[in-house]
Symmetry: C2
Subunit: 315 residues, 2 copies
């Protein structure tokens, strides 16, 4: 009987693997370097080899594997084709089909941020729910939407691209995407540092522990926890942008929970409480009490979600 | 074999009925008054009687009916219970269960705006799609979200409550819901008239065909089509608010299509083109070409959607 699943998270630097039981117990985790040479054509064969080696090592037969799930940093269609994945040097690539051919095991593929959201639903901060919005606050801002236990990939693979919701279209600085005033310009690690520099320049007479050339999301939240006045202003701006945006998103799908992950979210409860305060203020009355929780799986969300994707397809 | 379905749309003034074949062909349409007396307790028995009379008239047996779908003006849970429906004088009401008991036929219930979106997907402006956002521009602004062919009801029945997305939280006037700067304050029939009054007051020296005491959404769009300068400013404001909000919503679920309905949408193509221009400007690159179309079923969207709801449950 098929009782094992592989979850694979392909990133621009490394490929993470997990071997799971179908109940979500992780038996093994490992990673290999991502080889970008030859337009990334080595990647899929490398994934296949790594899985086959693990099967040999663990004495697993093909019939015992329910499936392989793969997360990819780019838009992925319903049938597992990637349109483009810049970080992997990929153009149009039939990930699921190609890997399936090499392994002769069913493969499912999804966008990495969406797959991470699925992982957090299965075994992380959103455990026990079937409808959630995950927000990943890192260098950029990513997201994933889960409705009725399934990823909302979207008609153009842009489901959950909440970092590019243009919340301040008159904002003078352009986002990497070309638009102006995207949520990630205010709530990513980079965005917070930009806000911080502005606030420090404005607050010349206010004492602050922040030192202009050493500012990071971490130093700002550390200072905020110590009660630093300038940091309070910075965090309030950040929290207002995010809380307001989440309140708007809630009017679309009314999730059971918001799961906040990514490097910035390591600031933990003080950050969540600041965002929550604005969320509760701006949310539609029926949704005011929707919980905001911290993601739990960290960098493993991808392999968990990929495994769950394969598991759901096998059922 | 079950080949007929009833679609029912319960409103505060009248209850609309449709008798359909399972392929969506409408065989009969009729309506009865909504009796609000006795806290609306007459409504469900009235619906049952009207359906039974029609079955008698058309000589339909219970076994030939695949199901009955019902749209209700209020939040409806997954199992067909209404939390509250002010316009029907209802508190907590087990619509599906109660009607099922009277008819001995399977009943499904949903929120009326969500059900209308399902109707537009099945046989209206969104025909051929499975993922859409419907916006209903009337006295207020309602909406419905369809993902993978199914209504997104939301954890608190607030899925698709896009009229209450707080897009301008600093707006001084409060919305009926208690928040400030909800989308419906700018893009409903009432909202457009308010914007119009402000623009007319500002534009004392600009000639306009608009007459202050006779302003309606219709007169504004009529004047806009004739090239009236003040009306252009009004419609631009309206279109910018709606286009910007749709661009944000698209980052959440990335629909295949937007369907615009309700009284205000009768202004037709010029309105759609004005909104589209702002939508294209603010949307994330992958979603810029998502079509905006007019709803097609008008007041019948509810009975079509209710029938589809029952049909999907029967399959």
């Amino acid at each position: 009987m098929a009782e094992y699943i592989f979850g694979v998270d392909i990133g621009g630097t490394s490929i993470k693997f997990g071997l799971f039981l179908t109940d979500g117990t992780v038996l093994d985790r490992w990673e290999v370097n991502t080889r970008l040479e030859n337009n990334g054509t080595e990647i899929i064969p490398d994934v296949a080899k790594s899985i086959q080696n693990k099967m040999y090592e663990k004495k697993l037969k093909k019939e015992e594997i329910a499936g392989v799930g793969v997360g990819v940093p780019g838009p992925v269609t319903e049938n597992g084709e990637v349109i483009v994945a810049v970080n992997l040097h990929w153009g149009h690539t039939k990930v699921a089909k190609d890997l399936e051919k090499l392994l002769n095991i069913p493969v499912k593929a999804g966008n990495d941020a969406n797959v991470a959201a699925l992982g957090e639903m299965w075994k992380g901060g959103g455990r026990g729910t079937k409808n959630l919005i995950m927000v990943t606050l890192g260098t950029g801002v990513g997201g994933g939407i889960i409705v009725d236990g399934k990823i909302v990939a979207g008609a153009h693979g842009a489901g959950g691209e909440i970092g590019h919701a243009s919340v301040e279209p008159d904002f003078p600085i352009a986002c990497n995407c070309g638009n102006h005033g995207c949520l990630e310009q205010f709530t990513s690690a980079t965005g917070i540092v930009r806000i911080a520099k502005e606030e420090i320049a404005k607050a010349e007479n206010t004492k602050t522990v922040l030192i202009e050339n050493e500012i990071s999301a971490k130093s700002i939240f550390d200072a905020y926890k110590e009660g630093d006045e300038v940091s309070k202003k910075i965090v309030n701006q950040f929290a207002r942008y995010l809380g307001k945006a989440l309140a708007i998103f809630a009017c679309v799908i009314d999730p059971e929970i918001f799961v906040i992950g990514g490097g910035v979210s390591k600031a933990g409860q003080p950050l969540l409480r600041a965002v929550e305060q604005y969320y509760r203020k701006f949310a539609f009355k029926s949704c005011k009490e929707t919980p905001l929780v911290q993601a739990k799986l960290g960098n493993d969300a991808g392999i968990y979600g990929a495994a769950k994707l394969a598991l759901d397809a096998a059922r």
